[in-house]
Symmetry: none
Subunit: 214 residues, 2 copies
DNA sequence: AAGATACTCCCCCAAATTCGGTATTTCATT
DNA sequence: AATGAAATACCGAATTTGGGGGAGTATCTT
């Protein structure tokens, strides 16, 4: 017999807080073990109740939901924190993730979506709406790459070949991957060298990666 | 009146490819304008058809779905690429995101989920299952906390040689730059290959740059 | 003193790459 | 129909690399 998932709500809006409490307690498998209007004593609060998962508002007076998340993950790493907010700006999302949030849902979500999100979060997933997810990917990408640069008028096949070369493939492997003769690969590579003004494969690879040609 | 969302499928499994084609063509608002078993001519293929969104398998013979995604986003940045795969390992996800994927779904998804994902991706969202999302968050966090620079136990000289190699230098040039014999350079490079588990200069350079070893 | 590690250099040989050409087919455009 | 670009393919030779050894010196550790 499974134990109920025990949830604490941190939300300053009294009406929403009580609605969530009601929703959780009226859903099979869930139990609301605490509901707090702020995070001023978040760690002591959590020590006094059983809690698997926190539903955390970001905008609260005093300690923000993000600061609270950091504290919780530091002190109780096993407790999941699901962020709920009306905002979906890049910075909030970024900081929430860095603080260790397990998911990020909008307050405009339906009760069903709330419960789904809680279930997902508890089972190790990271619930988030596709629009939030897209922002995460964008932030992710922007943090992992710089500026795209110039193109050297490479033809389609040349780009393909260069991509393969950059993956460390030999002429033979490229030929086999692209189903062409290795002589053709050779020709393409010769042309690439001319266009990139390089004279060896290592130069070409270095230039391709560093200037993000491919 | 809205135009159909035009989708190209890249999937080597004939059965799945045709099923997807059928699913897409039988769903209102969607049209499959191309279905290809590999990415050997991905750029040319996409030039010849109208396409808003690519449904891309990762594991394909020849050019991988990730390499193809890179090429597509470079050449047609406005085309969304939705990755579909049976795997959900961190490295695949990470590389898919960096390549510019708009979403990442598992092949075990239901037809309904496929269509939802396509819709989300087209409308600017980033569909992904909660379990994938969780991994993204984990990768995200780990990348913003500290870059775990594996250094593969390269010695100082080996790092120097690798740096030179990455700059596109030949054995002779490296030897001259470091004032050592090119035979010594060769020895260093042989040792580097062993330590990095690679077998060619291009592979070593790609690995060095991508993993920021040097 | 013995071992380990890093750095240095050499030999051999096979394999791969580079470089200089030539040449055909296809396809889009003029 | 002609042109040109792109992709395909081949030849041959000069050169570079890769993989297998061995080996000496210096430094540092045990």
């Amino acid at each position: 017999m499974e134990r109920d998932i025990q949830i604490c709500v941190f939300e300053d809006n009294k009406h929403l807080r009580e609605s969530l409490q009601l929703l959780i307690n009226n859903t099979d498998g869930f139990q609301c073990t605490g509901a707090f209007p702020n995070c001023k004593n978040v760690l002591t609060d959590l020590k006094e109740v059983d809690c698997d998962l926190c539903l955390m508002d970001i905008e609260m007076p005093g300690i923000s939901g993000i600061e609270a998340t950091q504290l919780i993950k530091k002190e109780f790493p096993e407790i999941h924190v699901l962020i709920q907010t009306v905002f979906s700006d890049d910075d909030s999302i970024f900081r929430a993730i860095c603080a260790g949030a397990s998911g990020y849902i909008l307050k405009s979500s339906s009760p069903v979506q709330y419960i789904e999100a809680l279930t997902d979060a508890q089972s190790g997933g990271a619930p988030m709406s596709p629009s939030i997810a897209r922002k995460v990917l964008q932030i992710f990408k922007s943090h992992n790459e710089h500026i795209p640069k110039k193109d050297y008028d490479l033809t389609d096949k040349e780009k393909l070949v260069l991509t393969e070369l950059t993956a460390g493939k030999s002429y033979k492997m490229i030929a086999s991957d692209l189903s062409i003769s290795s002589e053709t690969v050779k020709t393409h590579i010769k042309n690439i060298y001319v266009k990139l003004h390089v004279h060896s494969s290592t130069e070409a690879v270095a230039k391709a990666i560093q200037e993000r040609i491919i």
